[in-house]
Symmetry: D2
Subunit: 391 residues, 4 copies
């Protein structure tokens, strides 16, 4: 069977990001470029930054880089930390590991809490580790909110409490790349010092923008950092943004797209957006359960509403299944990353997504499981439909 044969109709891009981009956002991105130093530009800057506030739930500064989410990680690290500083980080999965690796490359010492990729960060370990750090050497606690590689979601509020319980002065940095815009995120209430995000997940844009939301404490720390910072400098960005401009040429057309995407999110209503993600994620998990397949995440209160990682039964290759589904049903699912390679596949249910796109997705998975000979109980789709019908 050739791929081409099956490529009619709309592709189902059900990886956990980049997510499906609404047509109106793609159209906004195709507007003619304008002078980023001209009189029309500041209104765009102000509008985008203003519309972002409620998505982060913050009144603190937000900065936007022409970069991937990876760049936003680097920005967070180099602005507040100095080479030789120590951070506390947790092996929730592939992306937490990459962020840890980046920290080390940047000269940061990492106290690394290993784990099995099947859960979020345990708040009690955070408390223990910080309590044990009598010299206050740990400068920051780094947590990935929704682990895009595993589908587990760390409970930021509980971790905040754990930090507070120790009275430890460490900064709190959270990677919300795949959660922002999908689940409610409370930068200020959770007293996060740096939230890192990107454009290509819940913000419903193509990749190309990295974001940091800051805190007063983070800004103070940035003044003390001995890291050599230029491109990623918050200071310059914030000063320029106050005038509606950027210290260097911004990614104009992605900002046009972001403006439209935020308008869509606010138009639907953020509460509705989050309820929709929750509803679709629950439906996915119900399908999974009914297939008799295992969720990689084993802690129910840590299930991510952004994606679901499905464990393949022993002896079955997830990438073979993904290949079958792509070729026969024109759907891309997420591959297993790092040590999960071929052991899991990931279903993204984020961004511009709805009930029937989900049932189409789940039916594709269920048919694929059958064709690939993966042991499962049919009818996951029906259980999901039953659930969705009652919402």
């Amino acid at each position: 069977m050739s791929i081409a044969k099956q490529r009619a109709g709309r592709h189902f891009l059900q990886i956990p990001g980049p997510s499906n981009v609404p047509d109106s956002v793609l159209r906004a991105m195709s507007k003619a470029v304008i002078d980023h130093r001209g009189p029309d530009f500041p209104d765009i800057t102000f509008d985008v930054l203003n519309q972002l506030k409620d998505v982060f739930n913050t009144t603190a500064p937000i900065v936007i880089y022409p970069s991937s989410g990876t760049g936003a990680w680097e920005a967070a690290l180099v602005n507040v930390l100095s080479p030789g500083d120590k951070i506390l980080a947790f092996e929730t999965g592939w992306f937490a590991t990459l962020w840890k690796n980046m920290s080390q490359k940047l000269g940061i010492e990492v106290e690394w809490v290993e784990s099995d990729w099947r859960r979020g960060v345990d708040p009690s370990i955070v408390a223990d580790k910080l309590a044990a750090d009598s010299k206050k050497e740990i400068k920051a606690v780094c947590v990935v909110h929704s682990e895009t590689s595993t589908g587990s979601m760390s409970r930021i509020s509980k971790i905040r409490q754990a930090i507070d319980s120790t009275n430890h002065p460490a900064l709190f940095m959270v990677d919300a790349i795949s959660s922002l815009g999908c689940v409610e995120y409370k930068h200020d209430e959770w007293a996060v010092d740096v939230t890192i995000s990107g454009s290509q997940k819940g913000l419903m844009l193509p990749p190309g923008l990295g974001l940091n939301a800051l805190s007063e404490k983070a800004l103070e720390a940035s003044k003390l950092s001995s890291s050599r910072v230029s491109y990623w400098s918050w200071q310059e960005m914030i000063e320029n943004n106050e005038q509606g401009v950027f210290p260097y040429t911004p990614a104009t057309n992605l900002l046009f797209g972001l403006q439209e995407a935020l308008k869509l999110l606010h138009g639907e209503g953020l509460a509705n957006v989050y309820a929709r993600h929750s509803r679709l994620a629950q439906a996915t998990r119900i399908a999974l359960e009914n297939w008799g397949l295992e969720n990689l995440c084993v802690v129910p209160e840590e299930f991510s509403d952004c994606l679901t990682a499905v464990v393949m039964p022993e002896g079955h290759d997830a990438d073979n299944l993904r290949k079958i589904i792509l070729e026969k049903f024109n759907m891309s699912l997420g591959t297993g990353l790092g040590k999960m390679k071929s052991k899991i596949f990931r279903i993204g249910h984020i961004g511009d997504f709805n009930e029937l796109a989900l049932t189409g997705t789940l039916s594709g998975v269920e048919m694929g499981l059958g064709i690939a000979g993966v042991p499962h109980t049919k009818g996951g789709i029906n259980a999901a439909m039953e659930f969705l019908s009652n919402q």
Copy 2:
């Protein structure tokens, strides 16, 4: 429940046309307009007309109007018939009736064969009627190939045989508006004299172009017609098209779109396109059967591969169901037209469409049936999936 709440994600436009338009066709339509009398235009004209030949399976002239399909009906009638001429036409459904009404408005006498909207044209009646027409007063036999209002498909090849069996000289006119590009259509082999079509179904364009494919016999007849013809004149169109131009300003950007849509159809391969439509139509009928609901079309060999009309159980309103599905699941289904108002709903499975878009569609119908309290057996979706898995 507000509609807005549910309007995230891609809308499922599952009416039997206009069909979903591929993104690349929409992009082609957004190219800058060019001079339709300039040196670049003829290549577009020639390419579009050439690419259309295999879709109609004809070597005869094809003309393209800036019009709806309705306009292409009128073009067919006024070019070859004169006021007072008689045609033989068949009440296969709403569109056949509209075409009949149009004929009468244009001064044509119609021998009208009534029917129950649940089947195509009976070839034996064609033979009988023509045989009975000893004075050869019937100038044309007019048939709708795929009745978009009912989902029944008349068997053009059999009707051709019926005409031939009587040696009657009547012209043969076929409305292939919703079938062209979905099922194999053989203008030359079936000796159709005028095939009428439009852009917004299997050709995967927005509405706005009407098409006629002609025959030598039709061209001869057009010279004898006493109808007063200007906008719709084949003659002028054909003469101009030979130079790559049009007698009046063509719908430039829809032609850009048509060029791209035809490229997509030929890229997939017409045989693959038809097999896909057949496969998805069969899956739909299997779902229907498993729900225990009735297909409006009662003749299996006349099921249309373009759409399926579903009969609502007594006491249930199809438009109520459609409203629920639109509001809750962001999917548009076709309404019952004319005497089928509220008695049926129609599922379009044409154009740029694939397996998972279909299972999404069918799951939306199945959930909608449940929510609306329409008696049915669950599991139509599963039967469809079973079928699709084995293709």
Copy 3:
């Protein structure tokens, strides 16, 4: 020199229509098709019709066809006239002649007032002809407002007065295809019975929509016409439009574009739009005068603000000049039509157009004149710039 070599940068489409389409209109046209019978469609219909009212300056019904402007001519004729009826028409140029030809094809008798294509309709001839028609056989007076083939503009208000002066009951039909949206048009004040227009000129859309604005008198006449009307029927269109729908599938995506184009026109302000067209037209004529070339139109108060037709000096071929300008400067100018073939070229200055696009245009003409060896005085561009600077 090959064309391709020169085709970098934006093409200057300076034919008098189709005009340059604003990017946002092209983007609006690339929105996904929606169900034209669904709940969202009526708002679009109502908005478009409502926004059109001020462009026509009418409170009477406006109808929109999926057609070229030629179709809108035919609609006007067949709705109110019957075969055998007589009209009074004027040879202002190529398009007036085509409209006359169409009338004759549709069985209408034409009293044809010949002219030299260098002026608009003489109101005194209108008065004379009507006064002479003691039997009131003339059913309609047909005038082209802005003759796109010549650049002369008939004075509708004066012609209205001429008609009134004779107390003749003839209908008044005006082709405003290339003037609507460029110059102020007063359908009601001028008591025009049918105004004909199209999408691709001042309305800044690609071709594909034809328009008629009606009067009460025209509607009455339409009830008495014996013409056989179906596709073009006003009656059905108006009845359906009252519900926000159309009697047959409308050209959905062109309507999306029309909605946006009207928003732009109203956003700029119609008075500003007309002032802009006047300003740019004047600048063009100033350039022309300074080149020492002749305007085809010889009556200053009849210069069209939509286009300017330039007479080539004896012995010089306009199409050779146009070819040089296209190949060397990537600009399309309008060709001479009919008997003006190769004798004139036409500069379009309509639609989405501004000062610098005009000076670019005029400089291209001036350079082309030099290269082609056409006798002229250099500096037309400077005179135009001088004028524009003082506006």
Copy 4:
């Protein structure tokens, strides 16, 4: 006069970047996002990298970042230099100064050769400085090819000779952000070690991509650098690119756009592209000379073909002129940066640009000069037209 009033027609974006983006590139950017880890992605990566080779004239690796050009500067610096390293840099203008500032922020010591912003880098000074560096402390010579803030272009080939003449081992880094794709650039022949570029100038894309072209020597140096590198790491980028993927999510849709833009450049032919830029730049300088205004760049063999910076006569404010031109003629010109604030304005003539867009631009400047009361001789536009006519 309000801006809005004048905003009809196409905006003239004549800043020296971002440049005008061709419509087909904007459309390519509006394609649906695809899985950057899926089977279709590598072909895009390979094609883009391959098409870039001839633009850089290199067979060495090229890396593409989701970043501005500023990011590509940082990438160049941190990959090969270590904090404490010394570089030799030249004050050719604002961007050279920013790059110097960045270097210092990154801990690099800069030997800074001041200048008056009116010329490129003097090769003899390069030779002198390197010759004087007997300890070989200078690790890199950093030069901006086309200074976007001044319109002077350093002669890379001569500077290469100067370096070679001293047998100094310093790396050679060149910022070709505004020159690449506009003038012929010979990365390999000139033995440049790192060429830095961006998407938004000659590559005809919106901003958002940063590029580095490398040399074997640069790659070797990168292995020895003690800079802490993660996001900007060449190593990881090159390794991943060999498989057609990226170490982190690339800016998918900008890559779609880049692929199309490169196709356009190669379609026109790079030699034609460069000849066009040269032609249009010459025409601009001819206009300038005829106005009697001064080119900021005073060394004729260092005039940039990308932009021209015009010195305002004493007592006249460039930004006032720019404001008038923007408001009255809907054209954006480049502002004076840094110490040139209000003293110069800059005319960009890069990217998707042609003769008539240039004459439109020059006429706008000439009219603006008149309106603003800036002393000048009229007729620059005519001299430019004379020149263009003879090309």
